[in-house]
């Protein structure tokens, strides 16, 4: 036990992050199943409206702050030092502090259930609903305090990432030779430094309103609910990219290894990341198109939002071209990586649709939004995370995850995921509003919702099979050896201090002295 509580080693902290993310994913998934059960048939009343509000708020907050963020941080803490040839993070104790801040925040968030009043204003808690007079219970106070703790932990680990990458690289690991996973985590950490403090500031102001009767967001007292929307989305939109960039990084490591080709256009993959980071601070108003802000402003933000599809598209083309002509090995990891490309592209396309203001006006707050965010966050980030788990599990545990079980897991997830969320596009087009606990028996709403619920059941089964695969493989899995995929980056070296880094693929150079990536000086 003291080994867990006192751990500062980056590998331990990394695994702890992944473990806690898995636990919270199961909790958040259970909340999703409760919602899908309630929505499976028209006019069903399994839950009260208020309970339903609490469940969807907790589901969103859990999945974003206690699953996606920590799982990505966990991979970063575990892999970055290994990939750049460092012995640990720059500040090992800070990794531990960041991890425990997020755990305490998570526990505090769930403690709110004990008050009988979990937060219920949605994951973006719009004012004035989040104000004391409309949400008098303690739920939102728990929500705000826990997000301040979690947010501070995220900032702390971002600082740690930046300093580690800047100051702890081994000789020869220049910035142009960084593995793309490290590159994207570096850009991501900088984005966190600029985005998460905005969330913390907004939450401090919200707590001021709720606990000290300040007036920031209270229109009746001269405050401005619109200010909350601006502040939240100035954080919230970069946050969307913060939740995908490290996943892009994983995909950029996995696809080349399983295609037996170096990544196509490394500088473009790296530079398009910078473009995404830069643009992501200029698009937040596309979450607020339904607010009357004037046509000029809406046009500017619509254009910027469409523009951001360009660097994202560049990446998709890079990954696809990497696969083109390669000798592809369809391991479970690669299957998830390829599925990621398809699902994420669908999510990207529905996102571009929203950038068109009139489309947004029609679809805002419908199930189309729910479909979109799940295609990018589940079909995008979580598919990449599954690819990453199958890829790096042998590194972390010394055992390979079982491939036949992995295939079952993969197909259950793909079928379940698309069944759950694809139909929600149609439900959105048919006008079904999100965040409403039940619905009347309008044409097609019932059957489509039933398909979605059955899909969610399949998805749950897939996730449980994944957990089973982890448990079974830990005990009975095939021994992996230190380089099971014949990979190229430093984390797979038996002893990285014995490797000289002279190119982007140091292990390739080691294995192929006759044809290294670098040109020897004559």
């Amino acid at each position: 036990m003291s080994g867990v509580l006192g751990a500062v080693d980056h590998k331990r902290i990394g695994v702890l992050y992944l473990f806690s993310a898995l636990i919270f994913a199961l909790i958040g998934g259970a909340e999703a199943m409760v919602m899908r059960a309630q929505l499976s048939l028209p006019n069903l009343k399994l839950l009260t409206p208020d309970t339903y509000n609490q469940v969807f708020t907790m589901h969103g907050t859990t999945m974003i702050f206690l699953v996606v963020m920590p799982v990505l941080t966990g991979f970063g803490v575990y892999l970055i030092p290994l990939m750049i040839g460092a012995h640990d993070m720059a500040f090992p104790c800070l990794s531990a502090v960041a991890f425990w801040l997020h755990i305490v925040g998570g526990l505090l968030l769930y403690l709110s259930f004990a008050t009988g009043n979990a937060p219920n204003a949605g994951w973006f808690s719009y004012a004035p609903l989040s104000e004391k007079q409309y949400s008098p219970g303690p739920g939102l106070d728990f929500w705000a305090v826990s997000l301040i703790l979690i947010g501070s932990g995220i900032i702390a680990s971002a600082i740690n990432f930046i300093v580690t990458i800047a100051a702890s690289r081994t000789a020869g690991m220049t910035i142009r030779r960084l593995p793309l996973f490290v590159w994207m985590n570096l850009v991501n950490a900088v984005m966190i430094i600029f985005a998460l403090p905005v969330l913390v500031a907004s939450l401090v102001m919200l707590l001021g309103d709720r606990l000290l009767h300040a007036r920031f967001f209270d229109a009746a007292q001269g405050g401005s609910p619109l200010l909350w929307q601006h502040y939240f989305w100035i954080f919230g939109h970069p946050e969307v990219y913060i939740m995908i960039l490290p996943a892009f990084g994983m995909i950029s490591e996995i696809i080349p290894v399983f295609s037996r080709k170096p990544i196509f256009g490394y500088p473009f993959v790296a530079a398009s990341t910078l473009a995404i980071a830069f643009l992501s601070y200029g698009v937040w108003v596309h979450h607020m198109f339904a607010v009357a802000l004037g046509r000029t402003l809406l046009s500017v933000f619509a254009a910027a939002s469409m523009l951001i599809a360009v660097p994202t598209g560049v990446k998709v083309f890079n990954w696809t071209t990497t696969m083109l002509g390669g000798s592809i090995r369809f391991t479970t990891s690669m299957l998830f990586a390829v599925a990621f490309l398809l699902e994420f592209t669908i999510g990207g396309l529905s996102g571009v649709a929203f950038a068109a203001v009139p489309v947004d006006w029609q679809m805002t707050d419908t199930y189309f939004v729910v479909a979109h965010i799940h295609y990018v966050l589940f079909g995008g980030t979580l598919f990449a995370v599954f690819a990453g788990v199958y890829y790096w599990f042998p590194k972390m545990t010394g055992k390979l995850l079982d491939e036949p079980l992995g295939r079952w897991h993969f197909w259950l997830i793909v079928v379940g995921f698309n069944a759950t969320f694809f139909v929600q596009h149609i439900l959105g087009l048919l006008g079904m509003p999100r965040r409403v606990y039940t619905y009347a028996d309008f044409p097609w709403w019932g059957p489509l919702n039933l398909i979605s619920t059955i899909g969610a059941g399949i998805l749950t089964f897939g996730v449980l099979l994944f957990v089973a695969n982890v448990l079974v493989s830990l005990r009975f899995g095939a021994v992996a050896g230190c380089d099971p995929w014949n990979a190229w980056t430093l984390e797979w070296a038996e002893d990285f201090s014995a490797v000289t880094v002279q190119s982007r693929r140091p292990l390739w150079d080691l294995k192929h002295p006759e044809a290294p990536d670098w040109v020897p000086e004559s």
Partner: protein
């Protein structure tokens, strides 16, 4: 100056803190037109100017490597803030009284917390427990933020 890990880490923290203060100060500016009248009637520019000079002087003494006067001047600044708060509360300006109270106490209150934390850290430095250059950066940041707050909240109100 050499970039040790501690200094690089501190500069990243300062970057994050700058974003944090930027958003809070922005909220003050956002509501400025509604809070201007109360601000002009209740803020005490001359006294606060004196305390501001003390804080700036503390930055100077720290730069000269003198820890004791730095902490003393920092404490004087905090006492000055306490005096200003007391005067405001006596004239009925509170967090809940209006938009000026809301924004003023949030911005300056968060700054006071940082100043107090900075003094505690400087105390640890004086006992040789922490890396002095990184903590010094934090104290310079505390003084720099106050210059901006003083300009926006005080000077802009009275020009």
């Amino acid at each position: 100056m050499t970039w040790t890990k501690a200094k690089l880490g501190m500069s990243m923290l300062i970057l994050a803190e700058s974003v944090f203060f930027f958003m809070l100060i922005l909220s003050f500016i956002y509501f400025r037109s509604e809070s201007l009248k109360t601000a002009a009637a209740t803020l005490h520019l001359p006294m606060t100017s004196i305390y501001t000079v003390c804080l700036l002087a503390s930055g100077f003494t720290l730069w000269r490597g003198r820890l004791a006067p730095t902490i003393a001047l920092g404490v004087i600044f905090l006492l000055g803030q306490g005096r200003e708060y007391l005067a405001l509360l006596q004239s009925g300006v509170t967090m809940s009284q209006g938009l000026f109270g809301t924004t003023f106490f949030t911005v300056t209150g968060i700054h006071v917390i940082h100043a107090a934390l900075g003094l505690i850290l400087l105390g640890f430095v004086s006992f040789g427990r922490l890396a002095a250059p990184a903590i010094a950066m934090f104290w310079y940041f505390v003084t720099a933020v106050w210059v901006v707050v003083f300009a926006v909240v005080y000077l802009w109100t009275f020009v």
